[in-house]
């Protein structure tokens, strides 16, 4: 027989005004298994808790029901009190007779009756409660940051500065991401490189940061505090430890006409190259696809000219395994392309804009490269087709964004601002030029942002036309822009020298593949999902994984950096402890009954269910069963309700506990 103690709280008068608390206590005392029942003015107060502790000892209680406010309010309080009285805290439950009873009913009789019923339900539950022990897992105090754009750089530096080791993995030969490609940045127009490169150098020199560039994540295993990652370091054909970054190889490489993707193909680079002069690390990589040596064996110049002997044509991909305790995902974005999309993609191209075949129709990033002092034109704004200075430039906003018929309904958030910036940069360089902007709305809700946009109109004389562009076509050496001005209600036609499209911010191609390796969720566009839109904006629902930057949704630099620092702070919070303690509300599999249909594995939103092999002493496989990794289980219980053989059970919400409550009806 159980020995349950029931404590009915008056909550001053909040409960006792409508509920006859003495009667509730008296009725509770009559429930079989209740050894002690009482009422008290304020159970949560010090004397109230003292009363509870004393009763546990005096009446040898083995379960407690506190009938008071919502468990969301005080469950922790009373469970701690139970614990200090020597009782397992999970044997203490609350009956919510305030929020769910005294506050929502006026009739004293009805409310009292309901309160008694709620208490009876919770008594029945407590009888079936089991002792649970918080789960502790050790924490590996080393973080993985995936992606070396400004988000990854900021997160890595913050974590490293806090004294923890960081492994930073970047897919490209250099860190920097999109910010390294930008000319000047809104809303202050400071040069992107000038504020970016010092941070890149800090990453390279930081004693706590291990940088793997030209590398990708091959596999991720484990769970919060205990991940194991495998990094594929792609063959660079250059031995990093030997290379001094002198650049002789690039200068002597006979292959000089390879389109430079960093410059959006506006310029060229050799087959052995660093993507841009300020690259970190300043170690070249051989583009094997275009290198003569790799094509037909008939070169080898770079190896000959390299003083330190750093060129290694035989180098192979290497796999590196690292234990980490937390992961920050910062893989950024890419821009929507207006060219034709492969069949099956939900996102459509822009046939009406020539599908990307008109040379003087470019995207915003290409414009950034044109305007950049360190870019292929040295900062001169010219047309890609003939190198002439454009005198009429049309900017088109919302290309792809907010265009449901094209497959994307969201706002890309940064385009209004960078288009305003582009009109300014243009006017600063081509004083007699005229910029036109087709826009739907101007969305400028950042600090000093609206002022910035107004400056583009009022001081730099950009002409803003509210309306959409329906068609672009080549006519002689001009690009004709056909659009509408909805304010005036007329069709507009402009013969432009250059057209710049603010194309939508999209997640990286392959973002879903990485998400699947990490076990994190993503939305229908493949942006990574945060655990809670408002209250957990940097945490993934998968414990121990955090998000930073544009991989989670379109973001400008200030937002990206804030989120990166927030993610770093979350990692530091995690690393502040040697062991993790978490609520033991996790599922367990009864291996004897499990028939290994693995339905639980299919429904588990956390990917917590694994297959476990049961072998005999000789090592022969007897059978397979499901196994729930307690470090990963989120405790939703979906597996239990789905298991056809009733073989998996969620601690704290077992069928027995629930059924016992239902029995009291």
């Amino acid at each position: 027989m159980s020995r349950i103690g029931v404590f009915v709280c008056h909550c001053g008068e909040n409960i006792s005004r409508t509920v006859d608390v003495e009667k509730v206590a008296a009725e509770a005392a009559r429930i079989p298994g209740v050894a002690y029942a009482t009422d008290y003015k304020y159970m949560c107060s010090d004397p109230g808790q003292g009363l509870l502790k004393k009763a546990v000892a005096e009446h040898k209680l083995d379960g407690i029901v506190v009938a008071a406010c919502s468990p969301r309010m005080h469950e922790k309080t009373f469970r701690n009190a139970a614990k200090s009285a020597g009782l397992n805290p999970f044997l203490c439950e609350m009956a919510n007779i305030r929020e769910h009873c005294s506050w929502v009913h006026e009739d004293r009789e009805e409310a009292t009756e309901k309160a008694s019923a709620i208490v009876e339900m919770m008594v029945a539950r407590v009888k079936k409660d089991r002792k649970l022990v918080p789960i502790t897992v050790p924490v590996t105090k080393r973080a993985l940051v995936i992606g070396g754009g400004i988000a990854g750089i900021q997160a890595a530096l913050d974590i490293a500065d806090a004294g923890h080791r960081v492994v930073l993995v970047e897919r490209e030969p250099s860190i920097g991401g999109h910010m390294a490609q930008l000319s000047e940045t809104f809303p202050t127009l400071d040069c992107s490189q000038c504020i970016m490169t010092p941070k890149m150098v800090d990453v390279a020199n930081h004693p706590n940061i291990t940088l793997h560039t030209y590398s990708e994540i091959e596999a991720v295993e484990g769970y919060i505090g205990n991940f194991q990652i495998t990094v594929r370091k792609k063959a660079r054909s250059v031995i990093e430890e030997k290379c001094t970054g002198c650049g002789v190889c690039s200068a002597k490489c006979p292959q000089k006409k390879i389109p430079n993707t960093f410059d959006k193909n506006l310029g060229f680079r050799p087959a052995i190259y660093v993507p841009f002069p300020q690259a970190v690390p300043n170690t070249p990589v051989i583009d094997r696809e275009h290198c003569t040596r790799f094509i037909n064996g008939k070169c080898g110049v770079c190896q000959k000219v390299c003083g330190p002997g750093a060129i290694d044509y035989e180098q192979e991909d290497r796999l590196i395994v690292e234990p980490v305790g937390a992961i920050v995902v910062a893989t950024g974005f890419e821009l929507y392309s207006i060219s034709e999309k492969p069949k099956g993609s939900p996102i459509k191209g822009y046939g009406e804009f020539g599908h990307g075949t008109i040379p003087d129709v470019i995207d915003g990033l290409t414009f950034e490269r044109l305007a950049s002092a360190s870019g292929p034109t040295g900062g001169k704004i010219i047309r890609p087709s003939d190198g002439k200075e454009p005198k009429q430039v049309v900017f088109v906003q919302c290309v792809g964004s907010r265009a449901r018929e094209k497959g994307i309904s969201y706002c890309s958030k940064i385009c209004c601002m960078y288009t305003a910036k582009h009109t300014m940069l243009y006017k600063h360089k081509v004083h007699d030029g005229q910029a036109y902007v087709f826009f739907m709305d101007a969305r400028t809700p950042g600090k000093s942002y609206d002022e910035f946009w107004r400056r583009a109109i009022e001081e730099e004389e950009a002409v803003y036309i509210r309306g959409m562009v329906s068609r672009l076509y080549q006519k002689g050496d001009k690009v004709v822009v056909m659009g509408s001005d909805v304010h005036v209600g007329v069709q507009v036609e402009i013969e432009a020298d250059l057209v710049v499209l603010a194309t939508a911010v999209q997640p990286r191609a392959g973002a879903d593949t990485l998400a699947q390796k990490l076990g994190i969720s993503y939305d229908s566009y493949h942006f990574y999902s945060e655990a809670h839109a408002k209250l957990k904006p940097v945490e993934c629902a998968t414990a121990g994984i955090y998000l930073a930057g544009a991989c989670q949704g379109p973001k400008d630099i200030p937002d990206t950096v804030s989120q990166a620092s927030a993610a770093a702070a979350k990692v530091m919070t995690l690393f502040a402890r040697d062991e993790l303690e978490r609520e033991p509300i996790v599922a367990k599999v009864n291996e004897r009954n499990c028939v290994a249909c693995l339905y639980c594995k299919k429904v588990c939103p956390y990917g917590a269910v694994e297959e476990k092999e049961i072998r005999d002493r000789q090592g022969n496989l007897i059978r397979v069963v499901a196994y729930v990794n307690p470090g990963v289980c989120g405790g939703c219980g979906t597996c239990q309700a789905s298991c056809p053989s009733k073989s998996v059970e969620l601690d704290g919400y077992t069928d027995e506990q629930i059924m016992a409550m239902i029995e009291t009806l």
Binding site: H105, N590, T638, Y653
Partner: protein
């Protein structure tokens, strides 16, 4: 929103299976906002609607519930990402089954009530109570009481025996 006491011949028992993150919190909010609704509802808290086994609903009807409410987070808001989707699919099939065996589906309500929707909780609880009150007591399942003994214990000797006999 004042529910004045009226005398009804029949006061239905309503049991509500709710998730802790959204609907339980929504019901708490109704309390902190001092909204009023009929006192017929008993709440059973689950981590997620994904945890709710249709058997609980059958058992509740059998044990005396005249109406059952299942409520969790709105689609897309699930604290556990997708638990409520699984729940939704499961209950869609289950409703069809109940309909087939002749349970008046008006006694079973599924809804989404978020932590911010105290008012919606009141609405849902009130509506279901009134609807079921009009329907009268639910008798069909109660007669099964005598035969059915299952209590949720999964390790009964009978079950074990059955499992052991699986080749």
């Amino acid at each position: 929103m004042h529910a004045h006491k009226e005398n009804h011949d029949f006061e239905p028992k309503i049991i509500a299976f709710v998730c802790t993150w959204c609907t339980y919190a929504g019901a708490d909010l109704a309390g902190t906002s001092r909204m009023q609704y009929p006192a017929n509802t008993r709440v059973v808290k689950f981590p997620c609607t994904g945890r709710i086994d249709p058997v609980f609903i059958l058992r509740a009807f059998q044990k005396g519930a005249d109406g059952v409410l299942v409520s969790g987070c709105h689609p897309g808001d699930c604290h556990y990402m997708a638990g409520n989707f699984h729940a939704r699919r499961r209950f869609a099939a289950f409703r069809a089954l109940l309909d087939f065996i002749g349970v008046d589906l008006q006694r079973l309500q599924f809804s989404w009530v978020s932590a911010a929707e105290g008012g919606k909780w009141v609405e849902v609880a009130t509506e279901l109570t009134e609807r079921v009150r009009a329907l009268g007591p639910m008798r069909e399942f109660k007669e099964l009481e005598a035969e059915e003994q299952w209590s949720g214990v999964i390790d009964t000797p009978e079950l074990q025996e059955a499992y052991n006999n699986i080749p």
